[in-house]
Symmetry: C2
Subunit: 294 residues, 2 copies
């Protein structure tokens, strides 16, 4: 693309706060961009920043023709919880607290501002609607779900008519993975915090995708012999011997799963790199679409 | 509302073609509007009408301040099938057939034109996206799914943590019902044409919502004792003794289901009237929103 039309894809990342896992993810995404020849820029904001500052930065990226993908690293910092705490304990300060609420970051408002054509994370509700509806095509499939599907397809796992269980129903992972598996004609069940006997439901599945964020939740008793297991869970656990003082742990007891499943993705090194690869892929697709380059 | 602010809600219906079931549905909707004091107008088009004519009519309704709800009665006539047939058998006429394709009605394009604020059917992808995402609220919940949920809630059926099976995954019924049950914290599985052994999966469900359109698909062997069964299936079957020459038949063997389920909705008379009631409800909500009337 660079040789043919003299353009490179560009990715803009908005990072708010200092969550360790978010810092790691953003660091890895930028590094991958560099390796692939994608121009990248990170706009960093402190936890306590004003929503307006983020919105202004986002608007600039929306208008910048050298930016083809924009991602807001989630989750955004939650000041709301503290607000509730203040409200309950310091009733007299309620008026003050209301002004806090105005300052709080509205994830929905921020994500809705991302231009549809640059929403490489695919989190806009119109993208999600098109992903869920038959006969419609989203502009972008969210990166982690797309990466999970790519793992299944490239490994030759049959999906049509298979029983799939997705554990977790977040907007970012659980929901879009379920929608995507359904698009590929699996029979999908979403297991979540309210599900009774999740173990019994999960152990009937041919394909298990888990995004619960609960370390070592999935033991061998949860799995059907021969099942394919994709572990999206990543929980940072303190580890002084690790490079950054912690390591990432998945939802699956890897060793136990290995003994019964036909395939298991490791954490780290399984879904994570795929998420990043799909982000690059979506950014490239976006640039190609803009320049009508095929 | 009429007494307080001198306004009544208005519903516009677009009806294309002569499908018997569509005619019945539209007739019933208009009658219900009259009974409830909602102004209604129907724009009728022949099977072979030009897409432009529908789009023009839609645009007028979008701009008309006395119209608060617009619905396009689905399914739209399918000329596509015949086109494929012509293409295959009369290869020499392919050029002619291409011009047919241009005339064909693009459901996506037509539905996308309906103003979000008047989309009382809730079929716009942004509505569907907001229905599927946690923490988001759609402007309108599609009428049939909303009616099914209302039946469950008003009958005191517990949904949280219950196993629900939805049979069928259409954009109009199966998908939004599944999303809605999920929003109410059921553990949802969607059964569809590719599902292996749907009977075994269905007979584990506490709540079964079926929208397959296959008469008498659900026998007693498909049901868990005590299950709650909602039958959305409506298949017109020839019956010379009936008023219009046919009668509607559901997916469920009603008598068989009665003997094992704790509750079953009949066809006709179950979900159908609820769908219409929810359409009136959505239209009223839309008018109240416009006039800021509470």
């Amino acid at each position: 693309m660079k040789e043919s039309i003299g353009k490179v894809p560009g990715l803009a990342v908005i990072l708010v706060g200092q969550r360790r896992d978010s810092l790691t993810y953003v660091r890895n995404k930028i590094k991958a961009c560099e390796e692939a020849g994608i121009k990248s820029v990170v706009a960093e904001f402190p936890d306590s920043c004003a929503e307006e500052d983020i919105m202004t930065s986002l608007s600039k990226f929306n208008e910048d023709p050298s930016v083809h993908g924009i991602l807001v690293q989630l989750p955004l910092p939650e000041l709301e919880y503290y607000l509730e705490f203040y409200k309950r304990t310091l009733y007299v300060l309620q008026m003050t607290c209301k002004s806090f609420l105005v300052q709080h970051l509205d994830e929905e408002k921020i994500l809705n501002l991302v231009s549809l054509e640059k929403d490489v994370d695919g989190f806009h509700p119109i993208n999600m609607g098109n992903l869920s509806m038959r006969g419609r095509e989203p502009l972008f499939v969210p990166c982690t779900p797309k990466g999970c599907l790519e793992l299944l397809l490239r490994s030759g796992v049959e999906i049509v008519g298979k029983k799939a269980v997705v554990i977790g129903r977040s907007n970012i992972v659980g929901l879009p993975i379920a929608l995507l598996l359904q698009r590929h004609h699996a029979t999908v069940t979403i297991v979540h915090a309210c599900t009774k006997n999740p173990e019994r439901i999960t152990c009937e599945a041919d394909i298990v995708v888990t995004a619960a964020g609960v370390p070592s939740l999935i033991r061998s008793s949860w799995l059907k012999p021969g099942a394919v297991v994709i572990d999206v869970g990543t929980c940072p656990v303190e580890d002084p011997s690790a490079e950054y003082g912690y390591r990432l742990v998945g939802d699956v007891c890897y060793e136990e799963a290995l003994s019964i499943a036909s395939a298991v993705t490791p954490v780290p090194g399984g879904v994570g790199p795929m998420t990043i690869a799909m982000l690059l892929c979506n950014t490239l697709d976006s640039a190609k679409r803009l320049y009508a380059f095929t």
